[in-house]
Symmetry: C2
Subunit: 391 residues, 2 copies
C-alpha cells in the first residue's frame, strides 16, 4: 500500500464552504447522508443515545451519531449486530454513524492486564471475562458494526503524562494505525458491505513538537477522509488545549474534516471551532442531564435541582427551540430532577443535545456569512458572564 | 348534609351505552373530557407516567391518568402544585386526572407510627420526616392538586386478614369517608377551583356479608359520581376476587362507574370487565417494562431478556399498533433490556400501556356490538394458552 491508494471509500468527501480565521464551515458527505460542519455528534454508547429514540435524535437536528465499539463488542456482540444487518438497521438510525475504536474504554473502564505492541488484554467491566484487542481485531469489529466512519486503535496517555510516555504512545499509535489501515484495506477486498472509511487518531498530548511529528507521520500513511484529534480534554490546562489546536491547524490539510474527540461543553466547542475543528462528541449533554444540569444561553450552566427554580415557570432557556423548552417549565423539571424521574433525564437530554447541535448550526451560519468572530465573542461573554456562584 | 345533596360536582356524569351480561360500556364525563369505559388509567406516581411525556401518554389512547397523593404531598408538595395552577398545569396533562388518597402508600411505603380514628402518623420514606394524615387533610391535599376525581381516605387490610380486622377497617373507612365528604363539601363553598368529585373506597376484603354491608353504608352517605372497589388484588386467591366482584355488582347501582383499584394484568382486566368493572389502574405495565417484561396477544407474557429473543427480528407483538411495535424488533429491545438502557424501559412502557389501553378499547367495542362474551373467551384462551414455561 502506498500513499496513492485512496483510503476514503467512495461516498465520502468534504467540501469547505467558508472560513473566518481558522474557523471552517463545510459539508462532510457520507454514504448515509451529509454532515453539515461544524457539527456536534450525540453519543449513543450502547447503540442508543441514552433515553432517546432515533426519531427524537433526528428531530434535534443531529446528523451523525457516535457509538462505542467496546460496549457493543461486549454486548450484544458485533457479530450479532452484523448478522442483523449492522448498527443502522439494529438501532433504526438511518443517518451516518461513527464508531470509536474501543481504545478509550479499554483504558478507562476495563481492567487492563497487559498492553503490548501486539495488542491489549483486558477484562470486561460487566462480567470480568478476558478479551484481547488488536488493531486488526478492532477494525474487524467496526466492519461488522457497519459504521460509516471507523476509528483506528490508538493509545492516548492521560493529561499530565511525561514526554517519554507520550513518545512511546505516539510510536505505538502509529504502528497500530498502519496495521488498522492494512486490515481495513484487505477487508474491503474480502467483503461487500456499505462503504466505510477509517479515521486515524492523532496523539501527542500537549507537546507541540510531538504533535507536529505525529501529524506528519500519520499523513504519510494514507490519504485520509478525516482526521481525529485525540488526547485532549483529558485533564490538561485549557490554554494547553487551545495552543495545541492551533499547532494542529497549521499542520493539517485544510481539505480534510477534523474531529476533536471528547469535546465538549458549549464554550469549549465554540473555542475549538474558532481553532479549526469540525466534528465534536461528548457525553456531557447526556450525562449532565442525568444530574439535573442544563445549559442556558443567558444564564450559563445551571443545576435545576437548586431551590431557586422551585416556582420558576420559565423554560430552561427561553431562547431554545427544543421540545423541552417549548413544553415544560423549570418548576416541573426541577421536581423531576429532584425526584430522579426518568422523564426529567429525557427532557434535559433533549435540551442539552439541542443546545449543542443548535450552537454548532449557528456557528456554521455565522462562518458562512462572515460574522463568526464577533458573534462568538458576544455569545461567550454572555454565556460565561452569566455564571453565578449559586448555580 | 343529607343524601339529597348532590356530591357529583357539575361536569361529572356517567352514561351506559351497552351491556353484555355484567360487562358494561359507558362514558364517564369529567371537566377535562370524557373517559370511554372500560378504561385503563396509566399510573403517574410522581406527576409523570414513568419515562413518558404527556404527549406520548395521550398518543397511547389513554384518557384519564392517576397520580399519587402521598408522593406529591412529600415532593414537591401539594401547596406548590396548587400555587402553580394544579397538577394538570404542572405536568402539562390536559385530560382527566384521578388522585388516590395516599392511604395505600402510607400503609405500604412509609413507616407507620400510629393509626387511630383521628388519622395516621407516619414517617416519609424519603427523609424520615414525620407527618399526620387525616381524612380532612387528605381531601385538602387533593383539592390543592386539583385532580378531577379525588379519593376518600380509607384503610384496606391485606389479603388474608381475619374477619375482626376487616370489620374494624370497614368501620374506620366509613367514619373517615363521612369526614372526607364533609370537608370536601365545605371546601366547595370556600374555594373556587375547577370542579372535582369525591369517590369513596369500598372495603370488606373477601367477606361477602361485610362487602354488602359496607356497600349499603357507603351508598347511604352520598350520591356518588363514582365508586372505587378497594382491598382486592392484595394477595387473595383469584376465585375470591371474582366472587367478590360478583357480589359487588349485585350491590352497586348500575348508573355509577366502578373503579377497581390496582388491577391489572391483561387477563385480570378482561375478567373484571366481565364482572361489571369500568375503570382500572395498575403499575404492572410500567414496572414490568423496567424488568424487560412485555405482553403479546399470541404469546402471553414474555421476558425479553430471554436468550431466545437474541436474533428475533419480529416486533414484540405483531398485532400491536404501538410505536414500539411499529418501529423496533425484539433483538434490539432485548439488547436494551439486558444492557438496562432507559430507552428499553421507555419502549416497553409504551407497548405495555398501549396493550392494556387497547384491550379495554376493544372490550368496549365488543360490549357495544354484543360480541363481548365469545370474543373475551377466545382472547383469554389464546393469551393464556400461549404461556410457555420458558417465558
Amino acid at each position: 500500500m502506498t500513499k496513492d491508494t485512496p483510503l476514503p471509500a467512495e461516498g465520502f468527501s468534504f467540501r469547505l464552504l467558508g472560513t473566518v480565521g481558522q474557523a471552517r464551515a463545510g459539508t462532510f458527505q457520507t454514504p448515509h447522508g451529509p454532515v453539515h460542519t461544524p457539527a456536534f455528534m450525540p453519543v449513543g454508547t450502547q447503540g442508543t443515545v441514552k433515553t432517546l429514540t432515533p426519531d427524537e435524535v433526528e428531530a434535534l437536528g443531529a446528523s451523525m451519531i457516535l457509538a462505542n465499539t467496546y460496549h457493543l463488542f461486549l454486548r450484544p456482540g458485533h457479530e450479532l449486530v452484523g448478522d442483523l444487518g449492522g448498527l443502522h438497521q439494529f438501532m433504526r438510525w438511518n443517518g451516518p454513524i461513527l464508531t470509536d475504536s474501543g481504545g478509550f474504554q479499554v483504558f478507562s473502564l476495563a481492567r487492563i492486564n497487559k498492553i503490548q505492541d501486539e495488542g491489549v488484554t483486558f477484562q470486561s467491566h460487566i462480567d470480568g471475562s478476558s478479551h484481547f484487542f488488536t488493531p486488526e481485531g478492532v477494525v474487524e469489529i467496526q466492519r461488522a458494526l457497519s459504521a460509516d466512519v471507523i476509528m483506528a486503535f490508538d493509545q492516548g496517555p492521560p493529561g499530565g503524562a511525561d514526554r517519554r510516555t507520550v513518545e512511546e504512545a505516539n510510536r505505538r499509535t502509529l504502528l497500530w494505525l498502519e496495521r488498522c489501515r492494512d486490515r481495513f484495506l484487505s477487508l474491503e477486498d474480502e467483503i461487500s458491505t456499505p462503504a466505510q472509511t477509517l479515521f486515524p487518531v492523532l496523539q501527542g498530548n500537549v507537546f507541540d513538537d510531538l504533535r507536529l511529528q505525529q501529524a506528519r507521520d500519520v499523513l504519510r500513511l494514507g490519504d485520509w477522509a478525516g482526521l481525529a484529534i485525540g488526547g485532549l480534554s483529558v485533564g490538561e490546562a485549557k490554554e494547553d488545549m487551545w495552543r495545541t489546536l492551533e499547532v494542529m491547524d497549521s499542520a493539517l490539510p485544510s481539505g480534510t474534516p477534523r474531529y476533536l474527540m471528547g469535546v465538549g461543553y458549549p464554550d469549549d466547542l465554540l473555542r475549538a471551532v474558532a481553532r479549526g475543528c469540525d466534528l465534536f462528541d461528548c457525553v456531557a449533554p447526556t450525562r449532565n442531564a442525568r444530574h439535573g444540569t442544563a445549559w442556558s444561553e443567558a444564564e450559563g450552566q445551571v443545576n435545576l435541582r437548586h431551590a431557586r427554580f422551585k416556582r420558576d415557570t420559565h423554560p430552561v432557556d427561553p431562547a431554545c427551540d427544543c421540545y423541552t423548552c417549548q413544553r415544560f417549565d423549570r418548576a416541573y423539571l426541577r421536581h423531576l430532577a429532584v425526584a430522579n424521574e426518568w422523564l426529567g433525564h429525557r427532557l434535559l437530554t433533549i435540551h442539552n443535545l439541542r443546545f449543542l447541535v443548535s450552537l454548532a448550526e449557528r456557528a456554521r451560519a455565522r462562518i458562512i456569512d462572515g460574522s463568526f468572530a464577533s458573534w462568538s465573542r458576544d455569545w461567550l461573554t454572555r454565556y460565561e458572564g452569566a455564571r453565578s456562584p449559586s448555580a
